[in-house]
């Protein structure tokens, strides 16, 4: 339905609004329960839980970014982990610089691993990362630039479908190999770790952890609103038409590669932000984040939740990661079987994920009701 109200894009999205309200409630209530309810109380929420949920929120933002391009534009990126990791590295570099002379070697300028490698000076690309705002710009800009260059080359030459998927995978694989190298200047194998504080707040403190959790929640909500706005705009409809009939869209006169590039870069930036929020919460970023399997896992979050429903991606990310936490703890042997099974089952039987099932079920009920009431209205979607 095309309503003309200024906020139609938000008002029409009932499920999304409810989910945002839930997330808002969670990031308001849980910090209270963590910080101001005594530890022995039944209502106390542990810092472990806060940390875990904070991680899920970052994953959800990442899933959102992937759903934006996959669900709405049909671009199956198997390299989004790379953008996530780049954002994470940008944040990590800032926090490395914050350590200053408190490192093991006490060098005020160089991070420990550079001292260890006998480096005499800071590589040029580390300049500026002592400034928080510069680092925050880079969090979005670094993945954005990579996505721009990569996307510009790929979309202009009309690499589509599985070919695109394969080269995005190769991209993250190449980056992984590169970041494993010590002389890249990103800490090699071990990556960046031993962070002390962020903007002067110690990362060990509960209040900092809670603040990061709240930030992740806020970022997720803002990210969701942004994505919702994009997909509800005419641009969103162009994306859908690219997904459904690329050459038709071209023959109507849309420059498909520009649209793809825009949404790819936007998505990469969102992924970068997610990575930047993730790193201080887990305390480490290493080249393993670039590994192709990570990127494919993101896809399954989206597929399980419901591709093409932005809130579905969020639900999927939380569901699958909760499952992962639970099963890797309780039955580590089974987890990979389950994850693998999820891939197969969700593609074979749940083309629209959990959200799709609920939707179908609701539609059926609505249909029944309509029949019972004898009304003959059409079901608009």
């Amino acid at each position: 339905m095309t309503s003309q109200s200024r906020l139609a894009w938000l008002m029409n999205d009932v499920a999304g609004r409810r989910l945002m309200a839930l997330i808002l409630a969670v990031i308001i209530i849980l910090p209270v329960l963590n910080l101001w309810v005594p530890k022995d109380s039944f209502f106390h929420v542990s810092s472990y839980t806060i940390g875990l949920l904070g991680k899920y929120l970052c994953y959800a933002l990442l899933a959102l970014a992937v759903d934006l391009i996959w669900g709405y534009c049909g671009i199956l990126s198997l390299g989004h982990g790379a953008f996530f990791a780049l954002g994470g590295y940008a944040m990590g570099m800032y926090m490395m610089r914050q350590i200053g002379d408190r490192g093991v070697y006490g060098n005020p300028l160089l991070p420990d691993f550079m001292v260890f490698l006998n480096w005499q000076e800071l590589p040029w690309y580390w300049y500026g990362f002592d400034n928080f705002f510069f680092a925050m710009v880079m969090v979005a800009l670094a993945p954005g630039i990579l996505a721009f260059v990569f996307g510009w080359l790929a979309f202009r030459s009309r690499v589509t479908g599985v070919y695109l998927s394969i080269i995005t995978q190769a991209m993250t694989y190449a980056l992984m190999l590169a970041f494993f190298r010590n002389d890249m200047g990103f800490g090699g194998n071990n990556g960046l770790t031993d962070f002390k504080d962020l903007l002067g707040f110690s990362l060990q403190k509960d209040t900092t952890k809670v603040a990061l959790f709240v930030c992740s929640g806020v970022a997720l909500i803002l990210g969701y609103l942004l994505c919702r706005y994009v997909v509800s705009s005419k641009l969103g409809r162009v994306l859908v038409s690219i997904r459904d009939a690329e050459s038709r869209t071209r023959f109507i006169g849309y420059r498909v590669e520009h649209y793809k590039l825009f949404v790819f870069v936007l998505s990469a930036m969102l992924a970068g932000v997610a990575g930047a929020l993730y790193v201080p919460q887990v305390g480490i970023i290493n080249p393993g984040e670039f590994s192709p399997i990570n990127s494919i896992e993101i896809i399954i979050w989206v597929a399980v939740g419901g591709r093409g429903f932005l809130y579905g991606a969020i639900i999927g990310a939380v569901l699958v990661n909760y499952g992962k936490t639970f099963f890797t703890g309780a039955f580590p042997e089974i987890w990979l079987f389950m994850l693998g099974g999820l891939f197969v089952v969700s593609t074979l039987f749940l083309p629209q994920g959990v959200v799709g099932i609920v939707q179908q079920w609701k539609d059926k009920r609505a249909e029944k009701k309509a029949l019972q009431a004898g009304a003959s209205g059409e079901v608009a979607s």
């Binding site: 095309t2 641009l235 050459s247 071209r250 023959f251 006169g253 520009h258 649209y259």
Partner: protein
Amino acid sequence: MKLMTKHIPQHILYLNGVSKTFDGFKAINDLSFTVKPGELRAIIGPNGAGKTTMMDIITGKLKPDVGDVFFRDMVDLTKHDEADIANMGIGRKFQKPTVIESLTVFENLELALTGNRGVFKALFHKLDAEQYRRIDEVIKRVGLAEKRDWLGGNLSHGQKQWLEIGMLLNQEPDLLLVDEPAAGMTDHETELTAKLLKEIAGERSVVVVEHDMEFIKALACPVTVLHEGHVLAEGTLEQVQANEQVIEVYLGR
């Protein structure tokens, strides 16, 4: 709205000596033909005569090996890509109806509506009253008023064809290339389609590729016969049907 409305070109479309080869197979072989402004033209030809390849060349999907392809006498189409050519005013309907299945009829037409195609324009785009009126007018014209909010994917085959023609109209092109519009339609629908195309011609140029002779007859327009990527005959339907060569090609020796 269009930049070049003042200049009235001699030919809306001008093909001269166009050839295109795939792995030694000559899909188009020294093809020359022209379309005048406001003309309705039917193209017939057996399978593999090069009709689709010709359309691909005109709309920028393929580049010819040799030959000139000019639009409105001045624009060299071989130097532009699909989006450019579409925006210059050439609309194309595919052989297999392709509408955006997960958008509504209205949204399909909205996308096709002529206007700025830029990414950021699209992000902040709002339809004004005039554009609404325009879309609704086209919806009525192609007979989909009752299906306004239906998803494209839920339309019948014939309705998809019409929606696609509607989308073409919304692009306000100077030249419409219509590939087998009557395929899969009932007789009644075919008749309506022929009427619609005849209406459109006059204000715009229309090139129709079709197999259905009844439909061509209903169009009552000049016919070009393609064979092996080359123009075999041109004239009215009666003239080409009487042509020895055409009979040979269609019926075998």
